[in-house]
Symmetry: C2
Subunit: 285 residues, 2 copies
């Protein structure tokens, strides 16, 4: 097992939003040699510096990237690709790059297409989040027990994958799961994107006065993620279009089976569906 | 405002399942003159006695009902009606009866039809629960901050409604909301039954190996209630058939709008839907 040597590690985090800010806070506890950050918002940089989370912040990447062994991109999917392209000549030779975008196929394929051969880009996706976006809501503990998917490809160095996995565990996540970018996008359409689509649809069904006094925990839970970062989620859903549509169809098909059983007052069929759900649910929760 | 005099109050709880058991535990803290219970399971009665939550337990209602000022029925909807009918002659003159069934129209109408004129039955529904059923999972704190709906009808005495509201607040619930049984069933199809239908459908969509390492909090939240008490939920869904079908249709209609926006890669339409959901969600969560 590779043990990351934080005393020697120079890290730059690109994007101090909810995820980038939380990563900075979680990594700061591990006392790496340096954490620098790039963000277009000078106020956010100032806040992160004042909190002692980052040593220095920059509004562009030229200077920090030149001396960073590990660069973590915490940007929207399209912006992740754009950033690597824009600063391609600035990365330190041999640097390890990773990202946190919620879709992987488009990001990984695009970056591998133009990446400098000495650099190693490993796609990553922490399954962590909050109902609010932005640095002000970032917190180290969002990674505690969180799932993290890595999508290494043939070009990645095995040692770098192991190193990244070790770092991810150090910030509190579960043992990261590895799969192809294609597989990731397929599965994430079900395990993250569909619940967001459901949450929004359920809230949009609920035009009832005083609903906050009329709902049970089940309703609150199912709608917790409804206040999404709209720009980001439009990008995630549209860039994973086929998988999301497939999952919506499968889900609507399942809900239709329940509907049919209720409409026909078919108690045994309904019981069978609910029983099956209960059994599978035990694995998840 | 009516202040319940617990020192004089003699209570019988019928059904020591998750809700009845939790009510017994919550009420025991208020030190009423007596809490007795009726349950068909002698082992559960013994447990509740050993825990000091109830003074005595019975496997039938004849004796306890004769001396109880307040009878709380914590049974399935059909069983609630059957119990009142079966023991109609045993209730103490002037007693206040209430229930906790998740549908109200059928229960309230049926009971009002044959109730002794000296008795007062007020329908109630605590919006509290857990993923597990049965006395062993019962806990006083499930009512902390929980919503509670009362469905009084013309036959109910105003003082009794106020008394019941005061007791409900004493066990930790929010100010109970009052509405007609019809309104209750209409709203609850959205705020509790639909999320349960969704949770089951989402779990049944998720036949993926190792899904527990691949899902985000959104998926866990939306499926938390999937392990339902199958018998109870079949009864709740089938007895509220029309309202549930209407809510499923409205929800599927909303999900179809998201699907359409994604299929057409219509970013502005998708953004508009997600933005609207986010705004409404702020009221709920």
């Amino acid at each position: 097992m590779i043990e990351p040597d934080f005393k020697k590690m120079e890290i730059t985090i690109v994007g101090l939003g909810l995820i980038g800010g939380s990563l900075a806070k979680a990594l700061a506890k591990l006392k790496p040699r340096k954490i620098w950050a790039v963000d277009k918002d000078e106020q956010v940089i100032r806040k992160a510096q004042e909190l002692g989370i980052i040593e220095r912040g920059f509004t562009n990447g030229h200077l920090p990237l030149r001396s960073s062994d590990l660069v973590i991109l915490a940007l929207y999917p399209g912006a992740t690709v754009d950033f690597v392209k824009q600063y391609l000549e600035d990365f330190k030779p041999g640097a390890l790059l990773t990202d946190t975008a919620g879709i992987k196929q488009e990001v990984v394929n695009a970056i591998q297409d133009f990446l400098r051969p000495d650099l190693d880009f490993i796609g990553g996706h922490p399954l962590a989040g909050k109902e609010h976006s932005g640095f002000d809501f970032s917190a180290a503990d969002i990674f505690n027990g969180a799932n993290y998917i890595l999508t290494p490809v043939a070009q990645n160095k095995a040692d770098n994958v192991e190193m990244l996995k070790a770092i991810i565990k150090k910030i509190g996540c579960k043992e990261p799961v590895q799969m192809s970018p294609e597989e990731h996008d397929n599965i994430i359409a079900l395990t993250s994107q569909l619940p967001h689509v459901i949450a929004a649809s359920l809230v949009n069904s609920s035009q009832v006065d005083n609903i906050e006094y009329l709902c049970g925990g089940s309703f609150r839970d199912a709608t917790r993620v409804a206040p999404m970062n709209v720009q980001l989620w439009c990008e995630l859903l549209l860039k994973n279009k086929q998988n999301v549509l497939t999952q919506i169809d499968a889900f609507v098909d399942n809900i239709s089976k329940i509907k049919e059983a209720i409409a026909n007052e078919n108690q045994p069929a309904l019981a069978e569906i609910l029983k099956r759900a209960g059994k599978s649910a035990k694995v998840i929760n």
